[in-house]
Amino acid sequence: MEQQRDQWATKLGLILAMAGNAIGLGNFWRFPYQLAKNGGGAFMIPYFIALFFLGIPVMWIEWTIGRYGGRYGHGTLGPMFYLMSRDRLKPRKALWLGIIGGLLGFSVSSLLSSYYYQIIGWSAAYTYYSLTGAYFGQDTYKFFVNYISNTGAVVFFWGLTMVLLGIAVAQGVSKGIERWVKVMMPALYIFAIILVIRALTLGSPVKPEWSAIKGLEYIWTPDFQTLRQHFFKISLAAAGQIFFTLSLGMGIIHNYASYLGPEDDVALSGLATVSLNEFAEVILGGSLAIPIAFAYLGPEKAIKGGVGLAYIALPNVFMNMPAGRIFGAFWFLLLWFAGFTSAIATYNYLVALLEEDIHIDRKKGTWLVFVWLFILGLPIALDKTLLLLTDMDSWVGSYFLVILGFFDVVVGLWLFGVDRFWEELHKGAYIKIPNWFKPIMVYIAPFYMLILLGGNTWDYIRGGVFTLTPGYLEYLVKKQALISTTVQYAKKMVIISRAMILVVIIIGAVEAYMAIKKKYGEEIKKNEVIIRA
């Protein structure tokens, strides 16, 4: 029952789209502040361990699940998980796995997009403000607060980003997404390389002991002592970063892989995606924000820059740098491009869901998704404290991704069957993955994810995140709110965030149930597999 679906026109287009999918704000914005917060050289050791034992295996699993789903005409997780578990569990029980996959995929794509697109909008705004020199000579923290408080400006740059995303996605996979990324991805690499060259040739513009090279030294000096002291915390942060940067556990790698032909390679392509992402993150991303901040602001401010490193600390640098307007604009345009090429993927996931499950025309579906994401994002755009964004990210960005990744292993390997999965992974493959990688995928990667989930849960229990303890609300008000606010307001934002998450989860579950029932109703009724591709 194969359906005629759009497919990637060229291998290069596919790889650039996948790399664009993975390379996002995580590479240039999240990576530097995670690195700085977790001891520089101490962070890089568990980072590479997590890349090998978690990132690469889960990437292969997601490519394989996606291509398998695409063979049946599906680009969303609900039907994919159902199809892969129905032989082992029988259709009626497999339906539950389909619902879990569907609700997670829908929730991550919807909720992540609701705030991630706004951060991309900030980058668009700051590109403009860099070119006009709007923040030059000003307190950059106050400037940022004023921008976030200016609802008109926030909505304008966020809306502009969403309209462009809509235009790219409405044109389809081969004629839209693939054409856009073929221009944007090389441009992104060129911007980043120009900036890295500039960053590493800054010398010591402020004090002789402050330099970009010192920043590199902070990142690359293996610091086993700090790692030993904070082993669990740093290892969790590194594993979380691997998930975020490779866009794992979001459903979007599966979705892009579903547009492959049934015999197209996934083994080498998955590895190429990882390596392009790591080049952008470790070599380019690691040589920008921190080294620049070390040269101009000194080690202390660079390390404490935190989330605000990109939007608050670096503008200070650009205003004091020769040709700062141009380099500032390059930096923020780089962030915008990186965010945009990832956002196309989450947007396309939702459009594919309407197109394939409800048979809504792609163009109409694109603008329906636009309205949906606008409704979801509006409360976040109106919240000047950014607490709504913070709470939502603590669930979606740290939790849902890992749960989804874990279910990837449960469904793709344990239920589908390890040998069958291995055969599927190697169908049309350009490389042979060594057999010793099998136990890494079957046992080590899921074990890693369970530890990550357990660690995050423990942190949340201790912090009072689940029960909204007064201590947690105080922490939000004092440490997380962008502007001063009250405990009552913080509580209201957290409740709104969780209500939104709950509603989206319910919609995702119902949608997945209906989509699977619609196509596979007969086999669920008889509880035996009938439809085969």
Partner: protein
């Protein structure tokens, strides 16, 4: 830059660069052969 940092940097950057070059060139070569 101290020796330890330089060695770690060269090792990490080198590994990533080689992995990227090898995988992309192998993919492009395979696509060319597929078209021929």
């Amino acid at each position: 830059m101290n020796g330890g940092a330089l060695a770690f940097l060269v090792f990490a950057w080198g590994t990533i660069f080689i992995m990227m070059y090898w995988s992309i060139s192998k993919l492009l070569q395979a696509e060319k052969q597929g078209k021929a």
